[in-house]
């Protein structure tokens, strides 16, 4: 508590810093909605457990063989494509909202990945990739000897 109060008093209230903070916040908000800066696809959730990470992504309607996962060091790249439905002659769209085409996305994890042990499953349109931490990257516990 003391240190927090000290910091605020010490630096004083600076309106220009407040404005700068607000500007940053606005930029961040607009960056997500502006049409020229599309969000990365697919959206991913990352789950962690001890020495594993699990990446999930919603990718409905893709053939598992059209998905490609590669791992180098601490980076995992997911790429794939979804075929658009081909309409027959005489058929016409009332609305078309589902996307199609190719995508690729790379995520970096805070540790090196054991490439041989990466596994993935695709169920009900959701991809789940398990990324175990590399053995040599795991923290070593050091015993402290006491006399």
């Amino acid at each position: 508590m003391f240190w927090q109060d000290f910091g605020r008093v010490g630096r004083g209230w600076d309106p220009s810093r407040e404005i700068e903070g607000l500007r940053r916040e606005m930029n961040r908000l607009f960056a997500r909605t502006s049409p020229w800066e599309a969000p990365e696809f697919p959206a991913m959730n990352i789950w962690v457990q001890d020495h594993n990470a699990l990446v999930t992504a919603e990718l409905p309607g893709i053939d598992a063989k059209d998905l490609d996962i590669s791992v180098i060091g601490d980076a995992m790249t997911l790429s794939g494509h979804r075929e658009a439905d081909v309409l027959k002659e005489g058929e016409s769209y009332h609305r078309q909202e589902r996307g199609s085409g190719s995508f690729a996305r790379t995520v970096r994890l805070p540790f090196r990945i054991e490439a041989d042990k990466v596994s993935a499953k695709y169920e009900r349109g959701i991809l789940q990739i398990t990324l175990p931490r590399a053995e040599e990257d795991k923290p070593k516990k050091i015993q402290i000897k006491s006399k």
Binding site: M44, V48, E58, P60, G99, R124, G125
Partner: protein
């Protein structure tokens, strides 16, 4: 993907009604196209299968709903979150020309495909316009 608008959209519930389950509800993205003898509806609903998807046609309102179980993973903690999970719901008004008894639905890889056949009556009613 070619479509840059890739984020999930939350569904709008009709004014005055609330769902009993306090879960997020998303509006699935759909393609609807018309063939000669049927209207086809394709909806992206990742997380649903044939047991959890529900289709109703009441009067002329077609409603598709899908229940998605929370994806809490045993022993795992969510560290980084870009998309939410929740149920799906979306309604469309369809014209009377649908043959209700022959509606077909399949779900594969989180994609629902609905075939809404046009009724014989309507098909027969079609009038050809000739150019003079």
């Amino acid at each position: 993907m070619a479509n840059t608008d890739v984020e999930k959209r939350e569904a709008q519930s009709p004014s005055g009604t609330e769902r009993t389950r306090s879960r997020r509800v998303y509006s699935p993205r759909v393609d609807i196209y018309e063939a000669k003898d049927a209207i086809m509806l394709v909806a992206d609903m990742p997380g649903v299968d044939e047991k959890t998807v529900d289709i109703t046609l009441e009067k002329n309102v077609l409603t598709i709903t899908g229940a998605v179980e929370p994806d809490a993973l045993e022993g795992y903690q969510l560290a980084y979150n870009e998309y939410g999970t929740g149920d799906y719901q979306r309604s469309f008004t369809v014209s009377d020309e649908i043959d209700r008894d022959r509606i077909m639905a399949t779900v594969k890889n989180g994609v629902l495909r609905l075939t809404l056949p046009k009724s014989e009556k309507v098909k027969a009613k079609k009038i050809t316009v000739r150019a003079e």
